[in-house]
């Protein structure tokens, strides 16, 4: 399985990847994207099985990326990993077609709760 991790912070991408490993999802191929635009392009070129994306990013935000993907016909499973987890944002994420929203800070248990059933 190929997982695309999109965050404008390299440090946060490392933390997400490390948490995936700690949560037991350690045998998957990881692709990184540094903003929403890069994530959109890499969904087209790399065909990941899951996208884990930050919300607030320069160039294209996570929600804009998800909306652009759905408009282009892509149904790639998509979840947010973001520093904001308000009810309004969860509603917007869900309405745009996101499977889940993990609020930072998170730990491996949070990842397991969100990803079990999504990652085979």
């Amino acid at each position: 399985m190929k997982i695309l991790v999109a965050d404008d912070s390299r440090v946060m991408r490392q933390i997400v990847i490390r948490t995936l490993r700690q949560a037991g999802y350690d045998d998957h191929e990881i692709v990184e994207a540094e903003d929403g635009r890069d994530a959109y392009d890499k969904v087209q070129s790399e065909h990941p099985d899951l996208v884990l994306s930050d919300w607030n990013m320069p160039n294209m935000t996570g929600i804009e990326c998800l909306q652009a993907l759905r408009s282009s016909g892509s149904g790639v499973p998509f979840g947010f990993v973001t520093s904001e987890g308000s009810a309004e944002m969860r509603d917007r994420a869900s309405a745009a077609g996101a499977l889940f929203l993990i609020a930072k800070p998170f730990n491996e248990e949070t990842f397991k709760d969100a990803l079990d059933g999504v990652i085979a």
């Binding site: 440090v11 520093s83 987890g85």
Partner: protein
């Protein structure tokens, strides 16, 4: 009867200062949660104030909404580098560059700021993290700050209002023809 101009200009519902919306215990709880998750499970913030060194670095995010201001993390440069290594773990390069440190402390400020925003009345928007010299405190009444120690080193988290704006000189008086145009 004529109202004095300042009475007319006063808003019906004055903005609340941060201390009316949040206390230090909340900021400390948010910071501790971020530390445990990002820096490490055994990493504690000890609520003991310490003197920040002369050479500090700050990272902050702006919150714009019913309450508008910044969530600012400030610490010494060496502590910021230590934090970066702790966050990157095995992925830390032998030599850290400024970009790594800015990225790491910016992301901590982002996570703390996101959770501060969630505890404030909304709707609000959260800006992207900025790293540099901390924004000045505009209104000392509108500040909720904690001073803590991490691995014995001082660190401050300040939730500080952006209003009222600092007086800025009017460009009309300073330079009537900024582009060099003549009448």
């Amino acid at each position: 009867m004529t109202l004095a101009p300042e009475s007319v200009a006063r808003p019906a519902h004055p903005r609340q200062v941060i201390t009316a919306l949040m206390d230090e215990a909340t900021v400390e709880a948010i910071a501790n949660e971020a530390w445990t998750a990002l820096v490490g499970e055994d990493e504690l913030l000890v609520p003991v104030p310490g003197d920040l060194p002369a050479d500090t670095v700050s990272a902050w995010v702006d919150v714009v909404g019913p309450w508008t201001g910044s969530v600012v993390l400030t610490t010494g440069r060496q502590t910021a580098a230590d934090l970066t290594r702790a966050l990157l773990g095995e992925a830390a390069p032998e030599l850290l560059d400024h970009e790594d440190v800015a990225d790491a402390i910016g992301e901590i400020a982002n996570v703390v700021g996101g959770n501060v925003k969630a505890a404030l009345p909304g709707p609000s928007t959260l800006g992207l993290p900025v790293v540099g010299e901390a924004p000045v405190v505009r209104n000392p009444e509108d500040v909720c700050r904690i001073d803590v120690l991490w691995r014995g080193q001082p660190l401050a988290v300040s939730v500080q209002g952006a209003l009222p704006p600092l007086p800025t000189p009017s460009p009309v008086h300073d330079n009537p023809h900024p582009n060099g145009a003549s009448l």
